[in-house]
């Protein structure tokens, strides 16, 4: 299972490329979704400007937090500096659960659970970005693997004692009292947010190399143990 799963995903991704990768979803439906769920804060299309949220023209292929005329949250700016770039994969994860990717995002949106609806929305947003069919050197915009964390993983009850020991690896950098000086706080998070964020590093969806390495060697049980422990700290 462990060995077969990724290769199936790879096949799926290849199939998407082979099919021309032009359609990632129903853009018309996406436009309706955008109007209903996003347009209170975001503009897209001709003459789009920054509002509460940044304008979304040219979003695919853009570095997170990169618009110079928009003031991003500290967390979004940090992810951008770390190298987070908006692709179909990262946008899908972000729209699914914004905090999975950017813990301290100011985007006050609880997420869109339905994968088909997300792809429809992103198909619409992509209408206003460069596409490889027009500019061959543009980033591929139709490649994605499934990143959602299995509900069975989210359901694991972590052992806080084990978490306490494992956490001593974290507190070399992340301060146990929750202070944030160049390295973000990890204490007092809801357990599920913590688990989702750690899996986003493990899956290399979040870009930071130290965290990818740290999360990469943690088992599902160990991530749950850490989440259980850190949730107990104020």
């Amino acid at each position: 299972m462990g060995g077969r799963f990724p290769s199936l995903l790879a096949l799926f991704a290849l199939a998407a490329v082979a099919a021309g990768a032009e359609e990632i979803g129903d853009a018309e439906r996406g436009e309706a979704l955008f109007k209903k769920q996003c347009s209170a804060c975001h503009q897209i299309g001709e003459g789009a400007k920054n509002r509460v949220g940044p304008r979304l023209n040219g979003l695919f292929g853009r570095r997170a937090g990169a618009l110079e005329d928009f003031t991003y949250s500290k967390s979004m700016a940090r992810m951008g500096a770390d190298g987070l770039t908006w692709t179909l994969e990262t946008l899908d994860a972000y729209v699914h659960n914004p905090k999975a990717l950017v813990s301290g995002t100011r985007m006050n949106y609880r997420g869109m659970a339905d994968p088909e609806a997300r792809l429809a929305l992103l198909a619409y947003i992509r209408e206003w970005s460069d596409k490889p069919r027009d500019i061959p050197e543009a980033e591929p915009t139709a490649i994605m693997t499934d990143h959602a964390v299995d509900p069975a993983i989210l359901a694991i009850q972590g052992d806080p004692d084990y978490g306490a020991y494992l956490s001593s690896e974290c507190t070399t950098c992340h301060q146990a009292d929750g202070s944030d000086q160049g390295i973000p706080s990890v204490t007092g998070w809801p357990e599920e947010d913590f688990v989702v964020a750690m899996h986003a590093y493990k899956d290399r969806l979040r870009p930071h190399p130290v965290m990818q390495m740290m999360a990469g060697r943690l088992s599902n049980d160990e991530i749950a143990a850490l989440a259980a422990y850190f949730a107990t700290l104020k």
Partner: protein, 421 residues
């Protein structure tokens, strides 16, 4: 602190049944003595006291009441930090339940399980942690000895007055003068340290003395983060830094402190400031305790940091010979946590988990141009082995390098809070 029998039983019962400790009724609490209050020792002391919640008697022996971190001391040389920002006291360590003794450990009797201090005090122990950092290998650089010449050609490789001396000497160099570094052979504390130092010296000279030259005499044919440093030196300090490897005499260097000369491959050269970083061995008390081998370092078991010479002794950080981990503050801090878990399990019956180790080393090349290298490690029967690693890439953009530098500041705040409270 001394407990009478009644009080002891009372507190033990009050602590609850969680303490399934293999302790003998009526005997004092198990004693752990830690020698060296740096990244390994201070961390171990704090975690032992905190995690055992009073079940262990923890004593930390450190000669300096105020500790100066060697990590980030290059940033002081470069003018990026105040010297005081590198200094930390032990008040919070003591407040956390550790008996802190500011004295020098001069003897270890492993048969009697006692440590003798310069002041005459004798400390009995059930477990001993040695985390004394490094010592210098006499005769490693011909013409130089630490006692006779460190004031003329500083090593500045144990942070403190030596660091201040080197900074003052760099700033006092004559216009267009030459700074030379005699780089150390492997293995040594902080693999990228000498080259970060070169970057910091170059940064100072670029502003105060732009026609000065920097010469690195290196016995190694390659070194940590080499591509990143070379790229950075080219970018920020073009033409100022010359590296001389073993092929061109970097391994055959003699120094003449009296005349401020260096002799490279037989050729005499006058220098204005010379930083001699000699070959290194485990801190002296590890030698005295007899836990080191012919290499000068102390071999340890990879799953616990326990000395291979004595099951009641642990060796942390720079002094230990463990395998793939570099000698760094981060590594010592990581190793301390594994040792603490093992000692607690042995003395108090707490749960033991598989050992995991980590390290990351950040280096500053120029203002807001930070790079890093790191790895995770696991024990194998032979050694602590690297299982995954990463390194900053050449050609990274300025925003990422700035983020890396800011992250390093966060790390310093984090690890010093972890060590000193």
């Amino acid at each position: 602190m001394k407990l009478n029998r009644r009080l002891f039983i009372g507190t033990t019962l009050a602590a609850g049944a969680a303490l399934s400790a293999p302790m003998v009724w009526g005997q004092a609490k198990p004693r752990v003595v830690i020698i060296g209050g740096g990244a390994g020792g201070a961390t171990a002391a704090r975690y032992l006291a905190k995690d055992s919640a009073g079940a262990l008697d923890v004593t930390l022996v450190e000669a300096n009441p105020i500790y100066t971190t060697c990590f980030f001391s290059n940033l002081y040389i470069g003018g990026f930090r105040e010297f005081e920002s590198l200094q930390h006291g032990y008040d919070k360590v003591a407040a956390g339940g550790v008996t802190v003794i500011n004295d020098m450990a001069t003897g270890v009797d492993r048969a009697a399980r006692t440590v003798t201090l310069a002041g005459g005090q004798v400390l009995p122990y059930d477990r001993l942690i040695l985390s004394p950092g490094i010592d210098f290998k006499e005769g490693s650089v011909p013409g130089w000895s630490v006692d006779a010449h460190a004031e003329i050609m500083p090593h500045a490789y144990k942070a403190g007055p030596q660091t201040q001396l080197l900074k003052a000497m760099v700033e006092a160099m004559p216009e267009g003068g030459t700074f030379a570094m005699v780089a150390p052979p492997n293995p040594y504390r902080c693999p990228p340290g000498p080259y970060e130092r070169i970057s910091m010296v170059a940064h100072v000279l670029k502003q105060k003395n732009p026609t000065a030259k920097i010469l690195i005499l290196d016995p190694k044919d390659k070194y940590s983060k080499q591509a990143l440093f070379e790229e950075g030196w080219g970018l920020h300090y073009d033409g100022m830094v010359e590296w001389v490897g073993p092929e061109f005499g970097g391994a055959a260097v003699e120094v003449r402190p009296e005349t401020m000369e260096i002799v490279v491959d037989g050729e005499v050269q006058k220098v204005d400031c010379c930083n001699v970083i000699p070959g290194q061995i485990a801190g002296k008390i590890a030698q005295i305790a007899g836990v080191t081998d012919d290499s000068g370092w102390a071999p340890v078991h990879p799953d616990s940091m326990k000395s291979k010479a004595d099951e009641n002794v642990y060796v942390l950080g720079d002094s230990s010979a463990q395998g793939d981990m570099p000698k760094s503050g981060f590594a010592a801090n990581s190793q301390a946590k594994v040792a603490v878990m093992t000692i607690r399990a042995e003395l108090t019956g707490s749960k033991a988990f598989p050992a995991k180790y980590t390290n990351t080393c950040w280096s500053l090349i120029a203002p807001e141009d930070g790079v890093k290298v790191g790895a995770s490690y696991e024990p194998t029967p032979e050694k602590i082995a690297s299982v995954d690693s990463f390194i900053s890439a050449t050609g990274e953009d300025a925003a990422l390098r700035k983020a890396t530098y800011e992250e390093s500041l966060g790390w310093y705040a984090g690890i010093t809070a972890d060590m000193f409270g």
